[in-house]
């Protein structure tokens, strides 16, 4: 089942001179698929992530998420779709260190407008999956780098999104922690989540079911991982 479809997307930033970040990108992600998007710095990877993550709108072209043409959505509609159907994991985990592990997850639960009665079970389930249940009351700043990234994954999946987007999720991690993160992504894929990872890490390219290359704003299919 196609969860995400990108059709002839162009993105130009109105700087002087204008920056053509994406020049006609087509892309599809299926349920349970693990896709690596690789490319050099400046190739348009972050722009591509922002477009498919509904953080930005294309200059031309369309993005269809869960069958919904996002051009038809208002800003509020895109916010809701992002809250309920997308999960993000960034290279910088962006965990709020002054809050506890549980409180960090509850931010996402509140934004997704999930019933408060479901919060305890969901946080326990998410922390169990990433191996941080025993640290639920710890202040997030006391976690190690790998633990923080696992917490970021838990935050991304706690609302049970259908598409998981990750921007260089293992960029700041050692090999063991990186493997942990990829294992968590495997679990999500096994549950039917489409996992799309932006990376220049060749190991992730090998891990993925499919690898696509971004170069000069254009996407080309690469060898299967």
């Amino acid at each position: 089942m196609t969860l995400l479809r990108v059709v002839d997307v162009h993105k130009t930033y109105p700087t002087s001179p204008p920056i053509h970040a994406l020049g006609g990108v087509d892309f599809v992600a299926q349920s349970g698929e693990r896709v690596a998007v690789v490319g050099r710095s400046g190739s348009g990877k972050s722009t591509f992530l922002n477009i498919i993550g509904l953080l930005d709108v294309p200059t031309t072209g369309s993005v269809h998420l869960m069958g919904q043409d996002t051009r038809e959505l208002t800003d509020a509609g895109r916010d809701r779709l992002r809250a309920n159907s997308l999960g993000f994991v960034f290279q910088e985990n962006h965990i709020l260190g002054h809050r506890t592990v549980t409180e960090n997850l509850e931010i996402k639960l509140a934004i997704s407008a999930l019933p408060r009665s479901s919060w305890p079970d969901r946080t326990s389930e998410a922390l169990e999956r990433v191996g941080l249940l025993h640290r639920r009351r710890s202040l997030a700043r006391l976690l190690s780098g790998g633990e923080k990234q696992r917490l970021a994954v838990a935050r991304a999946v706690i609302s049970r999104p259908r598409v998981l987007l990750a921007d260089e999720p293992t960029g700041n991690l050692d090999e063991d922690n990186a493997d942990n993160i990829l294992s968590l992504f495997d679990e999500q894929a096994a549950n039917g989540v489409a996992v799309i990872v932006i990376t220049h890490d060749t190991r992730i390219a090998r891990w993925a079911d499919r690898t696509v290359h971004l170069a000069h704003g254009r996407l080309t299919e690469a060898v299967r991982g």
């Binding site: 972050s46 922002n50 993550g53 953080l55 930005d56 800003d75 509020a76 916010d79 809701r80 779709l81 992002r82 809250a83 309920n84 997308l86 993000f88 960034f90 910088e92 962006h94 709020l96 931010i107 996402k108 934004i111 997704s112 935050r155």
Partner: protein
């Protein structure tokens, strides 16, 4: 290090700062405004206090006032006789005030009007009735008073087009206050021809009616002053009303006795009329304005300080805001976060401020031996104003947070 090198380094620092301030213009403006208000508050407090003090002083002077009362020293005692025709004012009653008292008083600078009044009722019998009715059926609730035309000027009363000068003669005429006219069954009319009242059996023609004035003449039957003196026998109960320019009460009260009786000023007593209520109102008003002025200034300062701190907070939380937006938070959600923070900060600050103010009030009152009084609404004022200040100060920061581009914000690290 050479001087030139030091100058160059200093110039480089300044240039660096200017670039930074230019890049964050709004923040720089907010901070400069906060400093301006802080220093301005200090100067304003001093200036406003000074102005308020001057105004209070002026109000005190003004309240003491524009009226001087002159009486016979030692007061008067009831004399004899009634108001009857035939008395010779020139040789009859004993008078302390000179015959030309009004002229002497009005010749003084700063005197707008002067006139004498002698209340007959209470000193001698003065039964008033509608002419034609028996005098043993007098009308109640009216009083007879002799007055000069100058008294009408001094009290700012009016008789319209009626001949006020007749009060300066000796004819049996009366001017009626509206209540007196009503009690006597006399219609208030522009042409009182043929209307008359009886005072102790003597018919007096009604020549006019009294209106307005700073003294209550509504129930008064005014007769010429000399007739009243003739009835009473002396002017020891006479009171001269002198209207002066505003604030000239003190100097006129010193000069009027000498003007009236240069031979024996000690026979007269002059006193300023103080309107206590006006004085209280004036002082209270100026103090209220002082407090409101300083308080308003400090509140503006507080709002700007909070706004500035929140702008800094928004900037520091840019990546957090970006992540929240990435997680699906709307612009409205983000704005609400900062508005709520502002309101809560204001509420808690206002509560603490009210508590502190009450403690300060009690301490200051105890130390100054004042009676501390607290109005219930003051306890609500602090948190109420605090919430309002918090909301106002968080408007711009909330707007700024809501417009942060999440795509850029999550890459801010």
């Amino acid at each position: 290090m050479s001087v030139r090198t030091q100058v160059d380094r200093f110039a480089e620092v300044v240039r660096d700062v200017v670039i930074e301030m230019h890049a964050r213009r709004m923040r720089a403006v907010l901070m400069m405004t906060a400093v301006a208000l802080a220093t301005g508050a200090l100067v304003a407090a001093i200036a406003i206090s000074s102005v308020a003090a001057h105004q209070v002083d002026a109000d005190l002077a003004a309240s003491t006032l524009d009226v001087v009362s002159v009486t016979v020293s030692g007061g008067g005692t009831p004399g004899g006789g009634t108001i009857t025709p035939g008395d010779d004012p020139a040789t009859g009653p004993v008078e302390t005030f000179p015959r030309d008292a009004e002229l002497r008083a009005e010749n003084l600078d700063l005197v707008a009007g002067a006139g004498r009044r002698l209340d007959v009722t209470g000193l001698v019998p003065a039964l008033v009735s509608r002419d034609g009715l028996p005098t043993d059926d007098p009308v109640a609730g009216v009083s007879v008073a002799g007055m000069t035309s100058g008294y009408l000027r001094a009290s700012a009363a009016s008789v319209g087009d009626a001949p006020a000068w007749m009060l300066d003669g000796g004819e049996p005429v009366v001017f009626l206050g509206p209540v007196a006219a009503e009690h006597l069954g006399i219609p208030v009319t522009d042409d009182p021809t043929g209307l008359s009242v009886s005072i102790d059996g003597v018919s007096h023609s009604v020549v006019g009616f009294l209106h307005g004035g700073s003294v209550d003449l509504a129930a008064v039957v005014a007769v010429p002053y000399t007739r009243a003196v003739g009835a009473v026998g002396d002017d020891r109960a006479t009171r001269m009303l002198v209207r002066v320019e505003r604030g000239a009460g003190a100097p006129i009260s010193r000069a009027i006795r000498l003007a009236l009786r240069p031979d024996a000023p000690e026979r007269l007593t002059a006193s300023q009329v103080v309107d206590v209520n006006q004085l209280r109102t004036g002082v209270t008003t100026q103090l209220d304005r002082l407090a409101a002025g300083i308080g308003g200034f400090l509140l503006m300062l507080t709002i700007l300080l909070i706004a500035n701190a929140m702008v800094v907070s928004v900037m520091a939380r840019t990546s957090e805001i970006g992540v929240r937006r990435a997680m699906g938070a709307s612009r409205r959600n983000v704005a609400a976060l900062f508005l709520a923070e502002g309101a809560l900060t204001g509420l808690l600050g206002g509560l603490a401020g009210s508590a502190f103010a009450l403690v300060a009030l009690v301490v200051v009152a105890a130390a100054s031996s004042w009676t501390a009084t607290v109005a219930a609404w003051w306890l609500v004022l602090g948190p109420g104003v605090g919430v309002l200040a918090g909301l106002i100060s968080s408007l711009y920061p909330a707007l700024r947070a809501a417009t942060i581009q999440p795509a850029l914000a999550v890459r801010s690290d």
